[in-house]
Amino acid sequence: MQPRSAGLVVTLRQTQPFALDVSFAAPSGRITALFGHSGSGKTTVLRAIAGLQRTAEARILCGDDVWCDTADRAWRPPHLRPVGFVFQDYGLFPHLTVREQLDLALGHRPAAERTPRIEALLELTRLQELGHRRPAALSGGQQQRAAIARALARDPQVLLLDEPFAAVDWALRESLRRELVALQRSLALTVLLVTHDFEDVAKLASHLVVLERGRVAASGTVEDLTARNAVPGIDGWREPAVALDAHIEGHDPHRQLTHIAAGALRLEVPLVDAPPGATVRVQLAAREVILASQRPEGLSLRNTLEAQVITVESAAHPALRLVHLAVGETRLLSLVTADAARDLALEPGKPILALIKAVAIGAFA
């Protein structure tokens, strides 16, 4: 399967039926999350990109292709836009088997290519044994995989996912996330993911666009936005945590540990099931990062990092302070009490040691 993916550049404006004024780019070969609460307009954006909905003003570019430009009266109807759309309820055709659905989505390919392609897609989504089934005879997770297979059958330039995990329970969600990441990486797909669950953002996305009431409230890389604690709309229900990509340097099977690194940030974490060189998504919660002025002894901590204070800001609770740190180019957050911040004399530029328990690091491979 050859990767062919282009980036998206999107500008949409309307005042009716609700105000929408967004402009963002989704880079090629990456997962971009469109994050916001219900009513923020994120599903409208996704539908407009697919051509299922029109907005008063719109300019949608996919690579060099103009899909829509109201200024030029350019409009490409949805069936001519190479998108794979995975709907929240999957939108599987109830009267067709999985194989028939894939065949239908492969209409742009010569008939001789379709059968091998169908088998490849079924294998990719681990549905080989279920190709003859209709959607009603599939479990929730299988339906989702079928929907993804059908979206990929289109040979899409972009994969659009509308709340892809909303309909499955928590236990399944985690494994489906892993599958999606693996799939996206192996095919170098451009993915635009609409979600109201920040876990999806923290675990899957490299880029983030936050929508609030039809406007872009923030956008940037997930690492930068989480490291600066600058994601609007998650205060109060999500603890500050940095989400960043690290690569596996090597394993220490004796001690059941894996060495990972992101720039100058080098960490030991419990063994990760991925080969050296692979990328893992790491989440470091601010409350798990302890600060010390001297190298401690007789502690169970596995990770001691030389850091520098960037800034100290007030936290959600008046007794707490959120400390922004730099380890080389990589940023970290640490949640400490106001007393501790005073005792350690934390101020911008001060060198400090950041201590992290190995088990406190969530690595998602």
């Binding site: 069936h79 309820d89 989505a105």
Partner: protein
């Protein structure tokens, strides 16, 4: 037993279904998916034949089809004979009277297709026409079949409108329902009973077919 009348009724039923289905499907689709003002009004208009006495519908059609009206004049120019008291007039009246029987089951079936399924059809590369052919039509098939069966059965049994618009001309406008009435008036009980039984059997068969189709569709998902 009036075989001519039965043949005429069957011919009328088949023609009505054949002419009505495409029209009713487009109308049903428009009502199921269209976002426009006055939809309630159009729906009420389509349902009108259900609640109006057939003689009232027949009365208005008689006037609409008459020589004095533009419709009547246009058709007379086309056919070479008046629309009223002709088989063609009967077909046209039958199509109009049966609109709700065909439109409503189709509209319900189309409205029951989730928006995401129709959107997915477009995102799978199907043009609007291909989406209708490969997704909407098969999914709405039980509703279409129900509409066809109801229309056919109702056409065989229609009495008031036929009498008003067509009269009772043998071989031209005398349907089996009219023939039954005619036989009763002539105290020909056995003939009336035979024809009534034929209609009864057909109605039961129609309902049986329609129910079977609905059940088969339900089993699929």
């Amino acid at each position: 037993m009036d075989w001519t009348a039965l043949g005429l009724s069957l011919r009328l039923g088949v023609l009505t279904v054949a002419l009505l289905l495409p029209v009713a499907f487009l109308l049903a689709r428009w009502l199921a998916y269209g976002r426009f003002r006055g939809r309630g009004f159009v729906e009420a208009l389509v349902a009108l034949p259900l609640i109006l006495p057939p003689t009232v519908v027949g009365f208005y059609l008689l006037h609409a089809f008459g020589r004095g009206s533009p419709i009547g004049a246009a058709f007379e120019g086309l056919l070479g004979h008046p629309l009223v008291f002709s088989f063609e007039g009967l077909v046209l009246a039958s199509v109009l009277v049966n609109l709700p029987f065909a439109v409503q089951p189709m509209q319900n079936a189309l409205a029951a297709i989730p928006t995401s399924v129709r959107d997915a059809a477009r995102c799978c590369g199907l043009s609007p026409l291909a989406a209708i052919r490969r997704i909407e039509l098969p999914l709405a098939l039980p509703g279409i079949a129900t509409g066809a069966v109801l229309t056919f059965a109702h056409t065989l049994g229609e009495f008031g409108v036929v009498l008003m618009v067509g009269g009772s001309i043998p071989g031209e406008t005398r349907t089996i329902a009219i023939a039954i009435y005619d036989r009763v008036q002539a105290f020909d009980e056995p003939a009336a009973a035979t024809m009534a039984l034929v209609l009864l059997v057909m109605a039961v068969a129609a309902l049986g077919i329609s129910n079977t189709l609905a059940r088969r569709a339900a089993r699929r998902d």
